[in-house]
């Protein structure tokens, strides 16, 4: 009898811990704007046809540049996990550019760090 109660408690605690560990990183309001059927391969193939779509992208930072009143980041894309985190052990889909309004501290948003972002597709750019 006592053992059954103990098991029930352990079950409850592990469920709670599981929920705590999986807290989402984006607010539900923002997350709900993201199209769940979106695929990065399609976006990379034809960015022009995706302009205006709200997407969730994740990757690791390759380069950061502070512009006059925005910050430009180059990221190496990786598939997103359930929480929106980049799964860096999977093959990368290539690079994408991120234009963040305002100043992002380049010494915090350093090359190598993992980043997830929800934003609107603006344009495509050819770089060398």
């Amino acid at each position: 009898m006592g053992l059954a109660i103990a098991w029930r408690w352990m079950g409850l605690i592990s469920v709670l811990l599981g929920v705590v560990a999986c807290a989402p990183v984006f607010t539900p309001a923002v997350r709900s704007q993201v199209d769940p059927t979106f695929s990065y391969a399609e976006l990379a193939a034809s960015p022009a046809s995706h302009v205006g779509r709200v997407v969730l992208l994740a990757g690791t930072i390759v380069d950061v540049t502070n512009l006059q009143d925005s910050t430009r980041l180059t990221l190496l894309q990786y598939p997103t996990g359930r929480r929106g985190q980049p799964r860096t052990h999977r093959p990368s889909g290539g690079r994408f550019l991120l234009l963040a309004p305002g100043y992002l501290e380049a010494e915090v948003y350093r090359p190598g760090r993992a980043l997830s972002v929800i934003g609107e597709v603006k344009d495509s750019k050819t770089c060398r």
Partner: protein, 195 residues
């Protein structure tokens, strides 16, 4: 019988207390701490450095650059909140950069990029610099006392260690390191600057 045990446990408690106390002292001297009262929030200082000219501040963070000029050493620091022993916390939280102008020569090879430093000094005004294409306003301060913290074990950890267990280096973060203070003078980069 009982009293012997209780005396023993009291003794142990005192020893543990002394050991704990040794690890948790403040780094900047009490006199300077007193001058720095009441503390100025870094956000306010950065927004308007001139308003606080002459005030004593205790700031710390991660060194971004150290530059020697003829009479001074300029240390550019990314501010981080300080803990109870004046050490910068291991966090991404920052309210921006500040610039310290020290009158003594500090070697850029020692005051190297990414090292943690705590500086007490007076607010001198503002310094304007360039970060990428952004014009950046730094609060400029003098150096009364500087403390360079030992490199974290995280930096020396094998590749992959740090990424996989971001909480782990916390346990060994400089002064929390189990062997802090036992090593060579490397750990004692505390300077009182003559001004």
């Amino acid at each position: 019988m009982q009293s012997r045990y209780s005396r023993l446990s009291w003794g142990l408690l005192v020893i543990v207390g002394i050991l704990l106390g040794m690890g948790c002292g403040r780094t900047i001297s009490p006199a300077v701490h007193q001058q720095a009262q009441p503390p100025i929030p870094f956000r306010e200082l950065r927004a308007n450095p001139e308003a606080f000219t002459g005030r004593t501040v205790i700031l710390g963070g991660e060194i971004l650059n150290t530059l020697n000029t003829e009479n001074h050493t300029f240390v550019e620091v990314l501010q981080k909140p300080l803990d109870r022993s004046d050490a910068p916390r291991f966090t991404d939280k920052t309210a921006g950069r500040f610039m310290a102008r020290c009158d003594s020569y500090l070697d850029p090879a020692i005051y190297a990029k990414d090292r943690q430093v705590t500086i007490a000094g007076r607010v001198l005004g503002r310094h304007t610099g360039q970060v990428g294409e952004t014009e950046y306003v730094y609060p400029l301060m003098s150096c009364i006392e500087t403390h360079l913290w030992p490199r974290t074990t995280a930096a020396n950890a094998p590749y992959g260690y740090y990424d996989a267990y971001p909480w782990y280096p916390h346990l060994f973060y400089h002064h929390l390191h189990p062997f802090y203070g036992l090593h060579y003078p490397y750990y004692r980069h505390h300077r009182r600057h003559r001004r």
